[in-house]
């Protein structure tokens, strides 16, 4: 059976995460939520520690902590600290507490690196199910609210006057972000999840004329990065998760250069 091959499972996992991360990543870029995405991902380390301690699914623990993180940020926003300061405090505290908590779990032998940088080559069939299930949920959520999300991203008042509630759209993005972080842990690890959100979307910008095109191109770039990154990791015996991000970054640089040259020529 095809799924018996670990490379096939890893590729499927990487592509699944890339597909979920692409449309969400576009909103992260458009709404300038990059640091928010990073903070949510770092906080997931605390979720991992809790999941291990309570012997429950890491997916659920990560989603729960990511949502708590988002709620805390919204609660504290506008109370004296700038948003980036607040996110910096919360993200790194959650990461640090998570790392300390994991070290206390002496009963279990834990490969910390697997959570920090992913362990895509060890993706099981069960993991694949969770990743594709989560990815499908995120894509369905965003696709079903696409016009509303776009309107709310463009202008709050415009959304209200169209009968939408921008707070609900923000909630949908936060929920999607939490799910994406949770499914991406296995693939790229908590430290590099934000890269999968931001880099493909940013790379797609110069090729797109409409928001929809940007999301589709970002998915293609993310998918290609996953496939090529895994091949490169295999060929050079490099860590898989970081290799995927490296390929995405190279694509970003190449596309950026091409569009820069084209603008100079025009």
């Amino acid at each position: 059976m095809m799924l018996d091959d670990f490379m096939v499972r890893a590729t499927l996992a990487g592509v699944g995460v890339a597909f979920a991360a692409a449309p969400l990543g576009c909103f992260v870029v458009w709404r300038r939520m990059a640091y928010f995405g990073d903070a949510t991902a770092h906080a997931a380390m605390l979720g991992i520690a809790m999941s291990l301690a309570m012997e429950m699914s890491i997916f659920l623990g990560a989603v729960a902590v990511a949502l708590t993180m988002a709620a805390t940020v919204n609660l504290l926003a506008g109370r004296g600290y700038a948003m980036d300061t607040l996110l910096g405090v919360l993200a790194h505290s959650a990461l640090a507490f998570g790392l300390v908590a994991v070290s206390f779990l002496s009963g279990i032998r834990i490969d910390l690196m697997a959570y920090l940088f992913g362990d895509i080559l060890a993706v099981s069939r069960g993991d694949l199910l969770v990743i594709w299930g989560g990815a499908a949920l995120v894509v369905a959520l965003i696709a079903s609210r696409w016009p509303a999300l776009l309107t709310a991203t463009l202008n709050e008042e415009l959304a209200y006057s169209s009968g939408l509630d921008p707070r609900r759209e923000q909630l949908i993005l936060t929920l999607s972000l939490a799910i994406t972080v949770a499914v991406a842990i296995k693939v790229v690890g908590v430290l590099l999840i934000a890269a999968m959100l931001i880099i493909p979307a940013a790379a797609a910008r110069s090729l797109a004329r409409t928001p929809e095109a940007m999301a589709v191109i970002a998915a293609a770039i993310g998918g290609a990065s996953a496939v090529a990154g895994l091949r490169a990791a295999y060929a050079f015996d490099a860590p898989a998760g970081p290799s995927i991000v490296c390929v995405a970054a190279l694509l970003f640089a190449i596309l950026g250069l091409v569009s820069w040259c084209r603008r100079l020529g025009a």
């Binding site: 202008n155 008042e157 169209s162 409409t210």
Partner: protein, 258 residues
């Protein structure tokens, strides 16, 4: 002041108060807009103009009072300024058709009505300030609104640009019969284009036809006689003696009349 009318008002604001924390920005505001009329809200910065608009579209909860919109009222909203992040690629046409799956034909018609027929394939980020505001107007027109809400829609436009924009609004009203409720700083334009002016400063200071409001003592207390241009231009040019203001006002007069 509520006007008795045979037709139900499009928007009826009754005893509205808006608070942000301990800060009351609007107190006991009454306001009604009838079909087809152009009503302008003037007031200094911080007078609660934008809060009133936010309350009408449901973005701000009233602390007291009620806002009733005629059932099924179609509102076309033109925001004060709309910042589209440069990372968001979007053509004029895609932007116009974001709302309720408008047809391409409606899109073209609305761009025509807003005076910018040839822009549909352009990127929003490439538009000039005047084109951008007209596309916002076109977007508001696409759902065939019964009322247009304009929140300082000409901010950032030069004098001829905003005069032309308001002329477009009058044309739209004449062609479609939609009512217009707008906030404006540009008193000279306000005075010529409005059926009714409401002077707001936390509460409704005075209200009436442009001529009535311009001569009201409350209005003069807020805007003085030589600042906005409206008084000087339309009614009391001889009243004040600041020469530099005079020159300024004449310039306004020239450009507004273009």
């Amino acid at each position: 002041m509520r006007r008795p009318g045979r037709i139900m008002s499009l928007i009826n604001v009754d005893g509205l108060s808006v608070r942000y924390g301990a800060n009351t920005v609007l107190r006991h505001v009454d306001l009604a807009v009838e079909p087809g009329e152009i009503v302008t809200i003037v007031g200094p910065n911080g007078s609660g103009k934008t809060s009133l608009f936010r309350a009408i579209i449901g973005a701000t909860e009233p602390a007291a009072g009620r806002i009733s919109l005629r059932p099924g009222l179609r509102i076309g909203y033109v925001p004060q300024r709309l910042h589209i992040d440069p990372t968001l690629p979007i053509t004029v046409e895609r932007f116009m058709r974001l709302g309720d799956r408008a047809r391409r034909q409606d899109c073209t018609t609305a761009l025509d009505a807003a005076g910018v027929p040839d822009l549909s394939k352009r990127q929003m980020s490439q538009l000039s300030g005047g084109q951008f505001q007209r596309v916002l107007l076109a977007r508001a027109l696409i759902a065939r609104p019964e009322i247009l809400l304009l929140d300082e829609a000409t901010q950032g436009l030069d004098q001829p640009g905003s005069a032309a924009f308001y002329r477009q609004i009058e044309t739209v009203r004449a062609e479609t019969g939609c009512a217009v409720l707008m906030i404006s700083h540009e008193l000279h334009v306000v005075m010529s284009a409005s059926d009714r002016v409401i002077c707001l400063n936390g509460h409704v200071c005075c209200e009436g036809t442009p001529a009535v409001v311009a001569s009201a003592p409350e209005y003069r207390a807020l805007f003085g006689t030589g600042t906005g241009g409206a008084l000087a231009l339309y009614r009391h040019d001889h009243d004040h003696d600041h020469d530099h203001d005079h020159g300024h006002d004449r310039m306004h007069s020239h450009e507004a009349a273009e």
